[in-house]
Point group: C2
Chain length 643, copies 2
């Protein structure tokens, strides 16, 4: 059995166009910049302390631990991102820097394999004593992902050996045995990491452990309750478990009984990702069905139009079905990355275009909004409407930033964006049993084998600004295989050509299927017309009632004050208003804007009145939501009233 | 100089119609019921402990203090309410009960006059040590109001003597002298109470002290900062002072420099009430202007359509201008009572109908919504939109109750409603230098003197359900005076008759002015037509953009799930939809409902779609907001989308 179905990273190269530009930004700017942040060398940014903590734990310097008890994970995610970068763009300096860092980490690791600078430096006596709150296995999971990435990229076992030792310690410590701890982590992550480790090492015991963590979760007697009693707690749960209790950690009931997403959104998505992985690797049809059920509930009742999830700031949680407020959207960048992760994994279970649509929606909108155009500032929280004065004043918006910031005290999102974009090739396409499936359209090329014949697939495109993708297929020799091209769900009339001749599309579950003996130089053209669309939410989404989102291709649009003036809520869009898309080369790095004529209701004399004010005609310009807040502080609004 | 300009309570009698019914409910049910609550005799209600605390402090029983450090104030407000009840409806049993309670209170009072069971029983060493947080002067203020009310009602000095002793202690303790404390209370209330005490006792020193507290507030060096330093605090402010800092207590700058309302809404309104009182009594034109400026800012930028203020739950505060969210409206019942208090006081400064309009709006909507039809349950928080599942789940709504409750741990609102309704006569009309002004229309009568001639003014009306008020003027003998009748701002075409003959209305600042020699048996008819109105908020109120509130007369309407089905946000009201008002005798104690035809957008197949759903015709029934949540739990929505 071969894992995963993504092509190896060096086999996919994004070399032109929009996504390639973002990936390059991550490679050339974000990863080096974050290295500075992790070393506390960025003025004005919140202190990270990550590298410092390891140097202290390794005995390389004196000092105290800084940060939160999951601080190490920021560094692990960065190592993962930097490793992906090495895979696609070898770089001796970065490799040497990583080697030095890994040496420090190895030195910091304790003899039995334990590795967590917070517990080593601050609470050595409390190892594994509070799985509910302290993220030890979560941090371990991120190191395991980093070790796998570093090994895959470089072939070096330096970090892989460290994380295997750590995983083996965890394997000895946790489990159903009489001397083992029947626990699991309050923040899922170790599960999907162990699957990755199993895939790369062939160590089935790691997959067994992942499955154990998932199966044990939420069983009675509840481990978190036993553990809290052991700590002498009074049974009162921490503040962030308001309303959902242990459901905040997806631990109120067994995972296989979960009927809808619950609790902390990132945890829920990481759990689901591991469930899908295990369903895939173990061919567990029941777990696959359960995962699909959860995914459907998320996509049909809990997904922002930006692809984000988790509206509740207090505990970073899922809410009631259809409760998707705009100004209080928490919609954490990491949660949207979780959506991308789950969608991509589902494509390995079954190839369904609708899942790739969700992946694209989350990637192009919520995730991309997390990163500034210059790669140096980030959003953690991604609301769909911001009035800066109000966002700064209202308590329930106190985690909303009206401008991206260089770093966070809890800095999970920036390195998460980095590792996603540094490994974007793994999301763009899949090797299938009989060929290749393309999920995301981006300028570049993929190399894969059809049978034993090496094939190069080149994609020329300015997607998402333009609607054409030109593929050139270059097998080393004529060879039969199936090429599957995603037909975006937002596209009403895709058009396919083969060597210039229009083809009838064989749409199989949202992918255009082309099976033939491919000759070197064959050309496939895919056209996905992108008129400006008005997207409406289901009537049960009360926060969007009577409003529309503008969308063109995969990009959802928003209004910004800099283009439209203040009081964006006073603007409305007549049903009949014509909207035009136009590429503006010198705006926001070059992007398509949507322009048209709206109506603006004037401010009145009195706060309340029975008069009907006469709205004035007002020009409207919308920009991609992904690119908002790159031109100074101001209002932003995604949902527009339709009149 | 005579204070106040209200008629003595026994001179105004509400005896039929809507307001009289609510006042009777308060008299016959609410006041006795609250007495049970204050004695901890109501099963299922949060414990009050109020009477218990005094019995313990008086040495009448053993036990510990229960509750918050301002717990005493609930009892004080109840005594005030019960005293008003005695004034209008003498009752020997209640009077004896009050006498016993007052004897306990007098026994609890310390020799130097100090009276606060929390500090006496829990922190005797910390008297006056934390004015910022501990509400000692606030509690004292409520006792002073109670003492004044009891004396006015009964002529007995028992409680008045207690509170004079307390006020004299405060006067010795606080002030600019070398041995005095240059402080003031974190929660305003003492100021307006001292003015009341000055008015009833003639003790000008009490008014001086009130003025001192107001003038000293927010001066540099800031007393709260000095005091915090003295307590050894690190300068970090309590959680509820998020964003506004000492502005939360209206103490960040001198009161005369306040340009807009800030901080805790009830405190702001109580401060403003005292400012207006002092401007009036001292004829301080600058303070009057300052008060009017603040009031205008409140009314033009911060007032809910229900007459509520203070949208921010975190700290119960004012927010940005025009930030008036519906689902997260905090709009505390007490804050709306503060609006009523300020509006009434402004009418003593200058008679302006617009101020009485605001008083009526707050009273008939936000305040009345605080009290169940049966008088036994209360709302503290008054949102304009509730989806129960969402309100219960979202943290920022965690103070919202979806059903009224019998009592609160912090039970400021229930006795505040009681004292307001028990003294409603003082709000209904004013003695003016040349006659009488009527502010609120209610069935009953007022007795006053025009010169030396006793006059009885009888009002026959079913207002607000019907639009006619018939006055009968019965002077003991023919006498000249001016009768001023408020012309509601919501009424486009009022009609006035004198002894059956239509009169041209002399509209002076929103009051119809009738000056003549009145004969016994003269009749004045006022008709204030009440078509159903669609009220729109200023375009800057982003939470109400594109929506209308239904209003008829003074009542603002809402939809309830019990009448309209769930998912109220899916309903919209066509601009052309005809709306009819109809009295329904057996609904909610008899009320006018608004009925018409709305459109309901059906739920869709997908969460997001480019399809335009076809709305279905749906009958709509709106009920007065004041009467919502009297028929079980369900959705409620005030603002309706207009299409």
């Amino acid at each position: 059995m071969s894992y995963p179905t993504s092509l190896p990273l060096p086999s996919v190269k994004l070399d032109h166009g929009f996504l390639a530009g973002r990936a390059r930004l991550v490679r050339d700017t974000v990863i080096p910049w974050q290295w500075e942040a992790l070393n506390d060398r960025i003025a004005g940014a919140e202190r990270s302390g990550c590298v410092h903590n390891f140097q202290v734990a390794a005995g390389e310097k004196a000092g105290k631990f800084h940060g939160l008890f999951w601080q190490d994970s920021d560094l692990a995610k960065w190592i993962e991102a930097a490793s992906y970068r090495l895979a696609t763009h070898p770089d001796a300096t970065l490799e040497a820097e990583l080697d030095r860092l890994i040496a420090t980490i190895a030195k910091a690791q304790q003899a039995d394999g334990y590795l967590n600078t917070y517990f080593q430096l601050v609470e050595p006596a409390n190892r594994w004593a509070n799985l509910r709150d302290c993220h030890e296995l979560y941090v371990a999971g991120h190191f395991i992902e980093a070790g796998v990435a570093h090994f895959t990229a470089t072939g070096q076992r330096s970090l892989l050996d460290v994380v295997c030792k750590l995983a083996d310690l965890i394997g000895r410590t946790f489990g159903p045995g009489p001397d083992q701890v029947p626990g699991y982590c309050g923040h899922e992550e170790i599960e999907l990491a162990l699957v990755k480790l199993a895939r790369v090492t062939g160590g089935e015991r790691y997959r067994d452990l992942a499955l154990y963590f998932i199966e044990q979760r939420g069983q009675s007697p509840n481990y978190f309750e036993l553990e809290a009693k052991r700590r002498g707690e009074d049974g009162k749960l921490p503040w962030h478990m308001h309303h959902d209790g242990l459901g905040t950690l997806q631990a109120a009931r067994p995972v296989r009984d979960l009927a809808e997403p619950v609790g902390h959104a990132v945890r829920m998505m990481y759990l689901l990702a591991a469930m899908i992985d295990l369903a895939h690797d173990r061919k567990d049809a029941a777990l696959a069905e359960q995962s699909r059920g959860l995914w459907s509930a998320i996509v049909q009742q809990h997904l922002y139009v930006t692809g984000g999830v988790g509206p509740e700031p207090h505990g970073e949680k899922f809410g009631e079905p259809f409760d998707l407020p705009a100004d209080r959207a928490y919609a954490e960048t990491c949660a949207a990355i979780g959506v991308v992760m789950c969608a991509r994994r589902l494509l390995d279970l079954d190839l369904r275009g609708a899942d790739a649509d969700v992946m694209e929606r989350a990637l192009y909108n919520n995730v991309l909004a997390g990163l500034a155009l210059d790669g140096r500032t980030y959003f953690y929280v991604n609301p769909l409407e911001v009035v800066p004065t109000v966002a700064k004043r209202r308590y329930e918006c106190h985690l909303v930033k009206t401008q991206r910031v260089p770093w966070f005290g809890c800095a999970c999102c920036p390195p998460n964006v980095a590792r996603l974009f540094a490994s974007l090739g793994a999301y763009a396409c899949s090797q299938t049993p009989d060929g290749l499936a393309v999920h995301l359209y981006a300028g570049g090329e993929a190399r894969f084998k059809a049978g034993n014949v090496p094939v190069r697939l080149r994609a020329q495109t300015e997607y998402p600004w333009q609607d054409r993708v030109e593929f050139r297929i270059e097998p080393a020799q004529a060879v039969e295989f199936t090429l599957q091209l995603r037909l975006p769900g937002w596209c009403r009339a895709p058009r396919l050509t083969l060597n210039g001749a229009v083809q009838e599309i064989e749409n199989v579950a949202g992918y255009a299927r082309l099976r033939r003996v491919w000759q070197p130089g064959d050309r496939v053209g895919l056209e996905v017309p992108m008129p400006v669309e008005r997207v409406r939410a289901d009537a049960r989404v009360f926060a969007a009632a009577g409003q529309v989102a503008l969308q063109r291709g995969p990009m959802v649009y928003c209004l910004e004050e800099v283009d439209n003036g203040p009081q964006l809520s006073a603007l409305s869009l007549p049903r009949t208003a014509k909207l035009e898309a136009r590429f503006v080369a010198d705006l926001l790095g070059g992007c398509v804007v949507i322009e048209g004529t709206a109506l603006r209701t004037p401010a009145g004399e009195a706060l309340y009145s029975t008069e009907t004010p006469t709205p004035a005609v007002a020009p409207l310009r919308a920009v991609p939501y992904a690119l908002w807040a790159n031109r100074g502080e101001g209002e932003m609004r995604l949902w527009l009233r339709e009149t």
